[in-house]
């Protein structure tokens, strides 16, 4: 066990994963600082790779550009960013997915500015929910370390070949130290096969990657993205099993249900709010309330099927969002409503909690439960944390 921050956990897992590709085409990363992920790229920059190069570039846009070029030439690639940095990177974020390149990026969720705010909010990574990136939201330092490792296996799987964004809450996870297990190089070498990118640049077979396509070929391209996305839940399960064999511990999957079996009310949460909500659920259960929670970790592809099954018998569902899509409410709430639509007529209420990095404390979650319990119908998203 080692006492490390979420950033350290991410930097370590990415670096040993990069080193694990030393007998193949190596590792190349483009890096650029932004609070609160800077420690991650600093960790990568000082890692003594046997066969690698870390390129400190002039912008996030170029950091992803370097990763794209390196991946197109067959290397393992990764980077990290946050908030407005992700926004600046947007165009190349899209390219990484549309070129089917298994780039792994740790996104430390930070409020988009202005007004300038460095604290936790998922609005940054959720901007990219429709860009064919797999998105995983972590709840703790151990989850960051293990999910980052698993992300390489998932991204580089030939059935998938898509980039993965591993997300954690700013400061709450990124800068908080916890005692966790970190992967050794020997374990990582066993877990990760050499990175193989079948469509990499090849002198023997000169191809133009990214030229013009007409509508029919573009449609085929999008359909193939859809097929790859649909493979993700099963491939994720497979690599979770491999993970346990190598590392001897479980890594959380697409969704985690907690005390939902006989629950009439279910809270749906993500990231670090999950750990607080779990404690509150225990308290309410002690009082005899039939209440449970589901943590969504895999946001893209959205695990609608699993959620439908887990929510089948609940009467009311409360979704806590640490993000705000202007004009519509919380993004997780919309996704949950969309996936349950047409199944059963049940109440799904959204709550905007911890927007802009505000604390989501047990009291917040209790208030959400009380509101949900007395509701007879769902309404617009409820803003929490506004001083009366």
């Amino acid at each position: 066990m080692q006492l490390v921050t979420g950033n350290h956990a991410a930097g370590h897992s990415m670096s040993v994963a990069g080193e694990a590709n030393r007998n193949s085409r190596g590792v190349v990363c483009g890096i650029y600082p932004i609070t609160p992920q800077t420690e991650i790229v600093e960790y990568i920059a000082r890692y003594p790779f046997t066969k690698g190069r870390v390129i400190p570039v002039e912008s996030e846009h170029s950091a992803m550009g370097v990763c794209i070029g390196a991946a197109l030439n067959g290397a393992r690639t990764f980077t990290a960013s946050s908030s407005n940095g992700l926004a600046y990177m947007a165009e190349n974020i899209m390219v990484a997915a549309f070129y089917r390149l298994p780039v792994v990026m740790v996104a430390v969720n930070r409020t988009l500015g202005p007004p300038w705010n460095i604290w936790a909010d998922q609005g940054d990574s959720l901007m990219f929910r429709d860009f064919a990136w797999i998105q995983l939201y972590c709840d703790s330092n151990q989850d960051v370390a293990d999910t980052t490792m698993l992300a390489f296996r998932l991204a580089e799987d030939p059935r998938v070949l898509l980039p993965v964004m591993v997300c954690m809450d700013a400061f709450i996870v990124s800068h908080t130290s916890m005692e966790i297990e970190l992967a050794t190089q020997e374990q990582t070498d066993r877990y990760l096969p050499p990175c193989r990118i079948p469509h990499r640049l090849d002198q023997e077979h000169p191809r133009t990657v990214g030229g013009m396509t007409f509508p029919q070929e573009t449609l085929t391209h999008r359909l193939e993205l859809d097929e790859a996305m649909k493979c993700v839940p099963d491939v994720l399960e497979e690599h979770r099993r491999n993970f346990k064999e190598v590392f001897g511990r479980e890594v959380a999957g697409a969704v985690s249900a907690y005390r939902t079996d006989d629950a009439d009310r279910i809270l749906i949460v993500s990231a670090s709010i999950s750990t607080t909500a779990r404690k509150v659920i225990d308290k309410r259960r002690e009082r005899g309330e039939k209440i449970g929670m589901i943590r969504i970790k895999l946001f893209r592809p959205f695990p609608g099927g699993q959620l439908r099954e887990l929510c089948a018998n609940a009467e009311k569902i409360g979704v806590l969002d640490r993000n705000y899509a202007a004009g519509t409410g919380g993004i997780f709430c919309h996704e949950v409503r969309a996936c349950l639509q047409g199944q059963h007529d049940r109440l799904v209420q959204g709550y905007l909690t911890g927007i802009g990095g505000g604390d989501v404390i047990p009291k917040t979650v209790h208030e959400v439960i009380e509101d949900l319990t007395q509701r007879s119908q769902a309404g617009e998203a409820v803003w929490k944390g506004i001083d009366p």
């Binding site: 190069r53 846009h61 794209i68 070029g69 000169p206 191809r207 133009t208 990657v209 990214g210 070929e217």
Partner: protein, 300 residues
């Protein structure tokens, strides 16, 4: 291609071409001629191209076909030096110890170089990445129908400067020289030997190498396609587009002195300058100032 090689058949020669037959580029396109010359200069070399949004990537044609006979990665508009840095880094990590790594070449227009890509270009130059950057400069956003860029010369009419551009063209070679890159040079498709020699010279240099090609665009310049080579030849002879090179940002060498040709002969052939008589006086003065400055630098 190689007359000295008795095995050289038309088919094998074709296989050596960078630009295959059948692309859809405009007649008189300076970029197309530049690509052909680039391919000849790089015969028997292993290389990949990184091409941002520009006519250069449209040249490839529609998937699954491609006009390029080497691996090509299309990049976003501003990103070709960043993508190329990634490609080059992997080449360096993987090349055969007995051989040099394959060359990585950016092929970008003036919009992607002078404007949207300049931060990325500046950063790659400052890091002295081991790549060769070509800007084929047609002095407009040609692919979108001819809008002004910061490479558009004074007085030129474009769709976004209908009365003629008021500002001066950026001096991109001097910008690159200010980065202390090992090699920066201008190329003219009217001077094929100089074109080839400079590229061969650059292949022997390690680090960031930059080339500026004066690249006529008959569609945007409103010129006769058949006169493209004549135009750029006039540009060199009149001093509008001097042929020179800069080593390490300080050592300037001039390849072609102006022969007294009146710059007006270059401007008069282009309808983009028509009706711009007053501005043309300024343009001529700019040419003279540039020549004087270049001579000073070369004399240092």
């Amino acid at each position: 291609m190689n007359a000295a090689n008795p095995d050289s058949s038309p088919e094998s020669s074709m296989a050596e071409c960078l630009l295959r037959p059948g692309n859809t580029n405009c007649g008189g396109c300076g970029m197309s001629t530049g690509l052909t010359m680039l391919g000849r200069a790089l015969e028997n070399e292993s290389y990949s191209l990184v091409i941002p949004a520009c006519c250069g990537i449209v040249t490839a044609g529609a998937f699954p076909t491609t006009s390029y006979n080497v691996p090509v990665a299309a990049s976003t508009f501003a990103s070709s030096p960043a993508y190329a840095s990634g490609v080059a880094a992997v080449n360096e990590l993987n090349h055969d110890p007995d051989d040099k790594p394959g060359h990585v070449i950016c092929w970008a227009g003036d919009g992607g170089t002078y404007d949207i890509g300049i931060a990325t270009l500046s950063a790659a130059a400052e890091r002295n990445e081991n790549l060769i950057y070509f800007c084929y400069d047609n002095e407009i956003y040609g692919n979108t129908g001819g809008q002004r860029s910061s490479a558009t010369p004074t007085a030129a009419k474009t769709t976004t400067t209908p009365a003629g551009k008021g500002e001066k063209k950026k001096e991109i070679i001097e910008i690159m020289a200010a980065h202390h890159v090992p090699y920066a040079a201008t190329l003219s498709i009217a001077h094929p030997e100089d074109f080839r020699d400079k590229i061969r010279k650059a292949l022997e240099i390690r680090g960031f190498r930059f080339f500026l090609i004066h690249s006529p665009c008959p569609t945007g310049w409103k010129t006769e396609p058949a006169e493209s080579i004549e135009l750029v030849s006039l540009a060199v002879r009149s001093g509008v587009f001097p042929l020179y090179e800069v080593f390490n940002g300080i050592d300037y060498r001039i390849q072609a002195e102006p022969d007294g040709t009146d710059p007006a002969r270059y401007y008069e052939k282009q309808k983009r300058f028509s009706g711009q008589e007053i501005n043309l006086q300024t343009v001529k003065r700019n040419v003279q100032e540039k020549q004087a400055r270049l001579k000073q630098l070369a004399a240092l």
